[in-house]
């Protein structure tokens, strides 16, 4: 069923990829990217995922869907009441709509995903439903997965996406390309968490496109760590303002990792609000990049937007590049942004040490406090994953 809808998308994707070619340094959005790693990722063999052995068992009351394997994610699954798959006709109509509206249908990572995705997990949510977990399976090679979520008016959902990619260094390279489109109907509420914890030779391209109708609420928390090469691009469009968007992110890098978070929020109507907090921790020789764009065109009067980018450098060889970007035309607005780059505070460290806490433990305590601020905001379905993965203890060597 899915193949008839996807086939033309795949073809176009492949054609466009060829036309576009790899991104180059001259393109602002890719200026700092390690293009060699990007290329390496794109040339990995295309595989299907497996390996569910180390995953924690599903929490009571939560439905787990696994994508990226050869099998149909919905096979043998009892979807909670209010959640149903889209029909082929509906899928055809909806697929790509949000990407278009957000203006990212033809960016390179999305076309890469178009070219390789063999399935789309497409769900409609009606009313207030039980929590969902979508787990993206891992494998030795490139896995491309795609999700489409339509929340009808007044629907409510807690969704946690997990990309468990921790493997030992000797394992073959693992890469994941993911695209998720979300449409929130009026007054719909989505609490969305993304927990992407990796280690070893791993790459991630994750693109989110979210369309919010008026009076909807979108709360996104992402926690990413350990990816040797990663790029996370949440793009949110408030189609007519009057909606609430909260974006919280934590990106942790160590070793020689490079992780970039590119966010974009556009208000196409008045009275929308944005509260964004992006935190990064960069250790060893890693490179953390943040680019946060906010657009407030003329029609977006009385927008209330604020963005804070906090960056922690743990070593003198780590590097942080932060670029908040505001483009404002409407004048009756409140738009503020701030950014800080620093190391762990000396006087806080000293205070802890003066109470007998050893230097490295003091640093670990402070680091944990810094990270937990965001980690604690993940949707409530996260605890079992946090207990098992390295994210729980961010002070562990990155």
């Amino acid at each position: 069923m899915v193949n008839t809808v996807l086939a033309p998308v795949q073809k176009r994707g492949q054609a466009n990829l060829e036309k576009l070619g790899l991104p180059t340094r001259r393109q602002e959005a890719w200026r700092l990217t390690d293009l060699k790693r990007l290329k390496a990722m794109a040339s990995l063999p295309h595989v299907a995922g497996a390996d569910q052995s180390s995953w924690p068992s599903v929490d009571q009351g939560v439905t787990r869907l696994v994508i990226g394997t050869d099998s149909d994610p919905l096979e043998g699954i009892q979807l909670p009441e209010g959640v149903s798959p889209l029909s082929e006709a509906e899928l055809e109509q909806a697929l790509g709509h949000t990407l278009d509206r957000c203006g990212c249908a033809e960016v390179w990572p999305v076309e890469l995903n178009h070219a390789h995705s063999r399935r789309v997990l497409a769900l409609r949510v009606r009313g207030s439903v039980a929590p969902l977990e979508i787990v993206l399976a891992a494998g030795d090679g490139l896995i491309a997965t795609r999700v489409l979520l339509l929340l009808e008016e007044k629907a409510e959902l807690d969704l946690l996406q997990v990309i468990p990619a921790e493997r030992d260094n000797a394992a073959a390279p693992l890469a994941h390309s993911h695209v998720i489109e979300v449409h929130l109907g009026q007054e719909a509420r989505l609490r969305h968490g993304l927990l992407a914890s990796a280690s070893g030779d791993t790459s991630l391209l994750a693109h989110l496109a979210v369309e919010q109708e008026p009076r909807s609420s979108y709360d996104f928390v992402s926690v990413c760590r350990g990816w040797r090469f990663g790029r996370l691009e949440p793009q949110v469009l408030q189609v007519d303002g009057q909606a609430t968007t909260r974006l919280n992110g934590l990106a942790m890098t160590g070793g020689d990792e490079q992780f970039a978070t590119h966010t974009g929020v556009c208000f196409q109507g008045p009275e929308g609000s944005l509260d964004q907090l992006q935190k990064a921790v960069a250790a060893d020789r890693s490179h953390s990049i943040f680019n946060g764009a906010i657009q407030v065109p003329r029609a977006a009067q009385r927008t209330d937007a604020s963005q804070l980018s906090r960056n922690l450098l743990l070593s003198s060889q780590a590097r942080v590049d932060a670029k908040p970007e505001l483009e404002i035309v409407a004048d009756d607005v409140r738009c503020a942004h701030g950014a800080t780059v620093s190391q762990l505070q000396q006087d806080q460290l000293f205070y802890l040490r003066s109470r007998g806490v050893a230097a490295d433990e003091a640093a670990a305590l402070l680091l944990k406090g810094y990270c937990c601020d965001v980690v604690d905001r993940l949707p409530s379905v996260a605890p079992s994953w946090l207990a098992s993965s390295a994210v729980k203890d961010p002070a562990r060597p990155l």
Binding site: Q346, Y351, L352, R353, G356, A359, L365, K368
Partner: protein, 262 residues
């Protein structure tokens, strides 16, 4: 209480120190024995605060001469956390806020580090909660403060009580309280002073760094030292504090002038 044969806890000898290449301490000499309470008074800039930071091992302050022995050991050979674990406690004048780090967890980690050094068993989370609730009574603090981040959103008085709470938990041998009374109203002052008195014993000692007489009304000092220009200029008994309250510090300038120091 002064007992000439009590253990010599702290022996500061000709101590010189600087911060940001600016010399502040210019030859401090001080001996503190177990059971004693010493008050160090003086104007701003006399070096009182620097003395306390140097004893605690603050990284911004550098020792440029002299020595300090703590119970016979070279204090400067120890890292700040080692000094704390061995029983040196500094009550800060401006306790720093640490958002994101829970007060309860911080206190538990610190307490266990000290217990471990003393050969006592560490307390687990539940045991510690009971333990700390007992200690809260010493400073009359609400248990709700345990849930918050360290010092975050605490008023001045609450921060100072948090310091004394830590004293109660860590059971230090020598406490150096840096202007613990500053910014406190009389009730908060009484609670803080009460806590310090409750925690003192013949085996411990305190150094109270203060501007004002009123703390010394609540905690009776055995010795009062006046610091100026980085040295201890004069030492006396508790009557000296009363005298200072009456005549102020102008005489200090005169004495410094005769000694040929700026």
């Amino acid at each position: 209480m002064i007992r000439p044969d009590a253990e010599l806890l702290l022996d500061i000898s000709d101590l010189h120190a600087s911060v940001e290449d600016q010399p502040i301490l210019k030859g401090v000499n001080l001996q503190v024995r177990a059971g004693e309470v010493h008050a160090v008074m003086g104007r701003n800039g006399s070096g009182k605060s620097t003395l306390s930071k140097i004893l605690a091992g603050h990284p911004s302050y550098r020792v440029t001469g002299g020595s300090v022995r703590y119970r016979g050991d070279d204090l400067f050979a120890l890292e700040p956390e080692e000094r704390a674990r061995l029983g040196v406690f500094l009550g800060f004048q401006y306790p720093v806020e640490i958002p994101g780090v829970s007060n309860l967890e911080f206190l538990r980690v610190a307490t266990n580090a000290r217990r471990d050094t003393q050969g006592q068993e560490e307390l687990d989370t539940f045991e510690f909660e009971d333990h700390v609730r007992e200690k809260l009574k010493v400073v009359q603090m609400d248990p709700a403060f345990l849930e918050r981040s360290v010092n975050q959103g605490f008023s001045g008085g609450e921060k100072k009580r948090n310091e004394i709470l830590q004293m109660a938990l860590l059971e230090p041998v020598i406490s150096i309280l840096d202007e613990t009374d500053s910014g406190l109203d009389i009730d908060a002052l009484r609670i803080v002073a009460g806590g310090v008195n409750q925690l003192s014993s013949p085996d411990t000692a305190s150094i109270l760094i203060t501007h004002y007489q009123r703390l010394l009304d609540e905690i009776t000092p055995d010795y009062v030292h006046v610091m100026a220009a980085g040295r201890i200029l004069r030492t006396g008994g508790r009557e000296l504090a009363v005298e200072l309250e009456q005549i102020g510090y102008d005489w200090v300038d005169e004495q410094l002038a005769t000694e040929g120091v700026a």
